[in-house]
Symmetry: C2
Subunit: 384 residues, 2 copies
DNA sequence: CGGTTCCATGGAATCGATTCCACGACGAGG
DNA sequence: CCTCGTCGTGGAATCGATTCCATGGAACCG
């Protein structure tokens, strides 16, 4: 590895290393001649400052660590993308790590982030406690939680309030005459898994769905568990007439298993997924979903981190969720009688989602606090 | 930021910094007492070595840069995932960057990777030339190309030979009676975009599809261009009866536009996509695709980089592609007469993909060289 | 015209871990 | 008993950029 140091640049420019450094870092205390000489020398030598040496001395690395649960989950891929873009605008480079929905791997990654002295960390945390997260906080590394939280750990966060979306979904299913609905829950070691299950249970009890515990299957946010859930739910004596999955990957697994079992989504079984993914509207029938804005979440996470790095302690933000009704939810069918879905191809494509089909959940006022420390009014939920 | 240095550890252990360093880096020239003392002190102080200082002195950062074109593209998300996991096993941390299918952003990222003195770089390169890539090579930074190459730049690479898959796809469409097929090409500034278009043109000419240039629409590997392509293709006087899209995102865009135009995939128009994505088989009808193994590609990329870092210059590897026939391709329909696809739901799900439906492309011998420097026999194509 | 301020500059210290080199102690072999 | 080799150890140099501090010259003011 050929290596050009600032001393080489200084020598070629006929100045000292100190002056060269000042020129290259934009320090105003430099003469025009020195400036042009150094800049030319740096260009000629294709000089790239050693970021390690710089960080060592100046205790800034201009690097932010981002730890997501699973890049292959489209929700986190989108999130990683917006966060990375926002950080780039602020001059930070992103060190992206993948926890694989696995606490050991999360901790391994956090340890290297600490070693690298990143300027800040954005985490979608696993589990309920973690030695590495404690370490992070003990060292006062600026940290922000995104999508998920850890109870009792006081860190600014951006999360989604799942309640309005789930409540609207339950209401929608009740309106369609469903009584037994299967719920494919996320892991109870993760805050979103717990909150969504609670919201589900509360809404089901209040709005009159069956609260039979057999109708709840606890998965792990990965697609295989969605398949397992559907398999289990349809072996019950009284199988459900609809399914609600707590994330997109489990929804994918669930739909795959429905197909395998020869059941037609929208006709035989209604399906709702949490998380709106671009291609969910391409399925036939198009999937009814509970949506929340990934872009918003990513932007706000970066903004919060920026404030934490600047020394303030911003309030946590809770974003709303909303139900988007498409075609995968229809009137409850007794036995396997066909539902009321569109039959011919042309009708199907004519009834695709329009703005009017959205049952939005009170997008005006702030959503209630969900155990967060401080809660500011959420910005309006925009779709890219 | 509380900071514990190796001197603090040494002092607490009653030894010098040199000895502490030796203990912590596993140097055998240490006494058992020193070892236990230092280890205990390090544990008590929760010492994390400053990776910057270490890298500065030892000229190793144990970090590899990975530059993909777009994390939101499921193909690259999967690729990033396998590469990251493989690198982790070798003790490297991955610095993931996103070029956004944009050369300026790619170069910006490569510059910071050079500054950080990463031990190696894995790139899916944009464009046909790049000052930053030249810089990389001039500095002799170990580099490997993945999925794509840059002509004339001699760097080990793992790529897919698109030819057999595309040829099989064309043959399949010819067998179904199609004559006019729309091809949604990738950007011609990217090697895969060029190679796939060439393979397409050659196969079309040879096997008897129309070579009308109006049937080729050049997109940019992102979904909006797939939509635009379909929009344009179906305004032709003689529209195509089938569509082949050169990547998954453009296929998504194309399908969305077909739906919007009220055309039913599989019935009115046959569709084939390059890249097999998990949920493509969930579409109804399930999508016929040209597949290649992401896991293989990721693993091999890491292995190549490992060899380059060790000082050898491994041969490039070319992986095969194969056609997987599902339900989105049916006999050519004249006008809008219905095709021969399954009508009832039960039949549809009964005819889902089985191993027997795969028309594999000579998986035994090595595929011919496609302009690569050296080409080794590709390993067998396994699916997770 | 003398003294003060301002400014560009270079020398040297610094960040924290690694590593070269020298030193003392101890055991073995002559 | 002396010497040589081995081994654990500490001091100091090192990596490369930044930054504190001192310096000398120019400009400015009374």
């Amino acid at each position: 590895m050929n290596t050009v140091t600032i001393r080489d640049v200084a020598q070629r420019a006929g100045v000292s290393a100190a002056t060269a450094s000042r020129v290259l870092s934009g320090n105003p205390a430099t003469s025009p001649e020195a400036r042009s000489q150094v800049e030319q020398a740096a260009r000629e030598l294709d000089f790239r400052p050693n970021a390690q040496a710089r960080a060592l001395r100046s205790t800034r690395s201009d690097t932010v660590g981002l730890l997501v649960s699973d890049v292959r989950n489209p929700f986190f891929a989108d999130l990683a993308h917006t966060i990375e873009q926002s950080l780039l605008e602020l001059g930070y480079v992103t060190l992206l790590g993948n926890a694989n929905e696995n606490r050991a791997q999360q901790d391994r990654y956090l340890d290297t982030l600490i070693s690298r002295r990143v300027d800040g960390v954005i985490v979608a945390p696993q589990g309920t406690d973690s030695a590495s997260i404690d370490s992070l906080l003990a060292r006062e590394v600026p940290t922000v939680f995104v999508d998920r939280t850890i109870p009792g750990v006081d860190v600014p966060s951006v999360t989604t309030d799942s309640t309005p979306g789930i409540r609207a979904a339950v209401q929608h299913l009740v309106d369609l005459g469903h009584e037994r609905v299967g719920y494919v829950a996320g892991p109870q070691s993760v805050s979103t898994g717990r909150e969504r299950l609670e919201a589900w249970s509360a809404a089901a009890a209040e709005l009159g769905l069956s609260t039979d515990p057999e109708l709840v299957y606890v998965g792990d946010f990965q697609s295989a568990s969605g398949s397992a859930a559907v398999h289990a739910l349809f072996e019950l004596d009284e199988p459900p007439t609809a399914i609600l999955a707590a994330d997109s990957l489990m929804a994918v697994g669930a739909i795959a298993m429905l197909n395998r079992l020869g059941m037609r989504m929208g006709t035989d079984v209604s399906v709702i997924a949490f998380d709106d993914i671009e291609w969910f509207s391409l399925l036939d029938p198009a999937l009814t979903v509970i949506a929340h804005s990934v872009e918003e979440m990513g932007r706000i996470a970066v903004q919060l981190l920026h404030e934490v790095i600047d020394g303030s302690t911003p309030d946590s933000v809770v974003l709303p969720s909303e139900l988007i009704v498409r075609e995968s939810t229809t009137r409850a069918s007794r036995g396997s009688a066909g539902g009321a879905t569109g039959g011919s191809a042309t009708v199907t494509s004519a009834t695709r989602e329009t703005p009017a089909t959205r049952a939005s959940s009170s997008p005006t006022g702030p959503t209630g606090p969900t155990g967060q420390t401080g809660t500011t009014t959420p910005p309006p939920l925009g779709r890219n």
